[in-house]
Each structure stands twice: as C-alpha cells, then as structure tokens.
Amino acid sequence: MEKSGPRHWLLLILFALFVIFLYGPTLTIFILSFQGPDGGLTFPMRGVSIYWFQNLFEPQMVGDFGGSLERSLSLALIAPSLVGVALFGFSLSYDEFSRTIMAAGSDNTLPLEVFAMTTNVTTPVLYALGSMTTLFSFAVVITVTLTVLAMRRKRGAKLAG
C-alpha cells in the first residue's frame, strides 16, 4: 500500500480524529476535576485547585479493583501474547457494572460508587474520581507494555547469545 500521498495523510488525519473523539470527553473531565472549591460541574473554571482530589479521599471509597489488577498482571507475565485477552478480562471485571448492580449486596464496587455519585453528587469530586481511575488505567497499560517489551528484549538477547 502506498505510504505517502494525499490518501495516506487523509487516513492518518481520520485516525487522529478518532483518538480525539476517544480522549476529548475524558480530557474535559480531567480539566474540570481541577475546579476551584466553588466550581461546579460545568465550565467556566472557578480557579484551579486540587481541592476535589483531596475531597475524594476524605469519605471511605471502596473498590474491588485491586484483586483483578493483580490477576491480569500475572496473566500478562506468564504469556506476553495473552496481553490482549488479559486486558479484556481486566477491563471487564474492573468495570463490571450491569451485573454488580443486580448482584452486589452491601459491598460497594467502584463502578457502583460512581453510578451512585452521578445521581446524588453535584460537585467536581465526581470528575476527580474519573480522572484518578483513568490515570490508573494508563499506569496499568504502560506497566504491562513495558514489562512485555523488557521480556521480549531479554528473550531476544538469550536467543542471540
């Protein structure tokens, strides 16, 4: 396939638009989570602060994502080619909402907490939580990728030597 010319660039622009579409809304709430203490759920920004992040950790937040994180990491370590599958599994248990809302008892999971917050929280603390979980996911993906790359390099060195 030709790798230059107008068609190539048009396709790359479309790809970039898709990435913007994916990240745009997340970026909005990331910015809004730094609202000042008087800020609301929408723009304009009323000052810049980490007030809502501090606020987030004051009440007890319960999540069940620690366990699933550990599991998907070890899976990825066993077989690098399973990363895709592991990420699927991680994501699905991390974000198990529809099933948890029906089956969970008094133990709250993170998605349930978020859903409850959408109905009864009217402050940017909601966005602070969203930003935190997004950053957390980023950290997981970067860690897994770097681990896989390091493993491959090690294996390549072994084969060469």
């Binding site: 396709l11 998605p111 978020v114």
Partner: protein, 303 residues
Amino acid sequence: MSLPAAAVPSGAAATAPARGRVLPSAMPYLQALPLWLVMGVFLLIPIATIVMVSFWEDQETGLAPTFILDNYRDVFATQVTFTTYLSTLRYAAIVWVSTLAIGFTVAYVLAFHIRSTLWQMVLFQVCAVPFLTSNVIRMISWIPFLGRNGLLNSTLIGLHITDHPLEFLLFSPFAVVLTFVHLYALFMVVPIFNTMMRIDRSLIEAALDAGARPIEVLRHVIIPLSLPGIAIGTIFVVTLVMGDFVTVQMMSGGQSASVGLLIKNEISLLQYPEAAAHAVILLLTVLMMVWAILRVVDIRKEL
C-alpha cells in the same frame, strides 16, 4: 507476532497430544472438563434458572413454582414490548453502522498505513486505554461536553454558528448513540485489526502488480479477508447494545426505552417471572441475530 492478541480464543492449545497414565481415550474429555464446569456453573445453570422462573407465577405472597404461560402472554399482549424492541433495534442498527465505519477505518490505518511495528503497538494501546476505564465515567464525561452550557454549545455560540444552545445534544437519542459509539468502537477495531494483520501482504502486492487500483485492492482483497473480524466485531457491538440499560437510561435522561431497561425496571418492581420471560425472549432474539451473522460469515475459518 509483536502485536497484542485480540479477544479471539485460539483452539490450538487444547489439542496437545494425550500423554500420561490416564486412559488415552479419556484424556480429551478430562481436558475439556474444566471448561465444561465453568460453562455449566456460570452460564448454563443461570440461564436454565431464568428459563424456569419465566414460567413461574407471580403471586401476592411470593413466587409460585408452577408452569404457566401468562408471563409470555403478557409480554406479547402489550404494544410497549414492540415499541421497546423497535427502539432497541434502531439503536443497535445505527450504532452498528457507525462503529463499523469507524472501526474499519481505524483498523485499516493501523494495519496498512503505520510503518513500524512499535508504532502500531503504541497506537493500538492509545486506542485501547480509554476502553480500560470505567464505562460509567466515560459516559458522564460527555455531560460537561454536550450539556446546555457545555463545551460544544459554548464553542458553537462563540463561533456564532448558533445563537442559542442546542438542546438535542444531551439527554436525547443522539446522546445515546454517540455514547454507544464512543464506548463500543473499540470492539470493532480490535477484531478487524486482528484479521487484517493476518492478511498475507503478498496478496496485496500481487493485486497491485496485476494493475488493481488501491480502491480495488480494498474492495476485492482486504474487505473479503476482513469479514471474519467484521463479523466478530458486529456480534460484540450488537449484543452489547441489545442488552444495555445503563447507557440508555443515563444518556437519554430517562426519555428513551430499551429492552434491558424494561427488564431492569421489572426487577426493581420484584416482578421476577415477567423479567425472566422478557430476558428469555431477548436472549432468543440476540441468539437469532448472532446465528444470522454466522450464516453470512464463516468466522471458524479464521480461528
């Protein structure tokens, strides 16, 4: 080989030659046993329970384990069922077309227009990361963007494209479709990308050498060979949209219905037999759709 495996299970691992002291003929069954146990306990028994409860009678004092068809009669007797199915199917169709167009394009760019394997991997991860964050958070992140005083409306007013905020952007069918596409586009990208990466590059070269234009290569080589990935992505997207209730409830502001939402409401009202009957019919509908997709495309060829 350096690319992340997609969510397509491989059957290769299960066919290792039978060794050990156990009777050789029993070995395959033993190897398949864990899968059967998992499937049985977590899939077959729950579904059998739902089917059973759908025939039970809802009485004032509780559920009576009988065998009546009233629940199903109630489902088909009301116009609500049909309008709800129609609305759900419409969402599924619009979301399917949108995710297919976006997913195919993105997978095509990743597979054929990114030179280095490292960059392919990096960009694939860039597409995959949002998928790892909570769906509910990705949903609510549209609210400050689409809202009455949201970013989009402020921008449009600032650019003098419109003089009053557009009301249809949030809490509308438009918002539901947009959120669905945002949430599920990746389910299309991953399987299509996976099949595209397996296309033998020499086939494309041969087509180009034989004088085919790029658009003809796309139409006669790439699309036919990507069909299994398209089918898998379609199954993902269609089943997810058909069963959804959270997105529809949240993004339509309660103004739109879906079958999932109908079932959820019945469960909230403790009408379990009615909900079970609805669930059985929804399950059959979705299974028929999956069956139809598998009739059109043979995905087994690719697995």
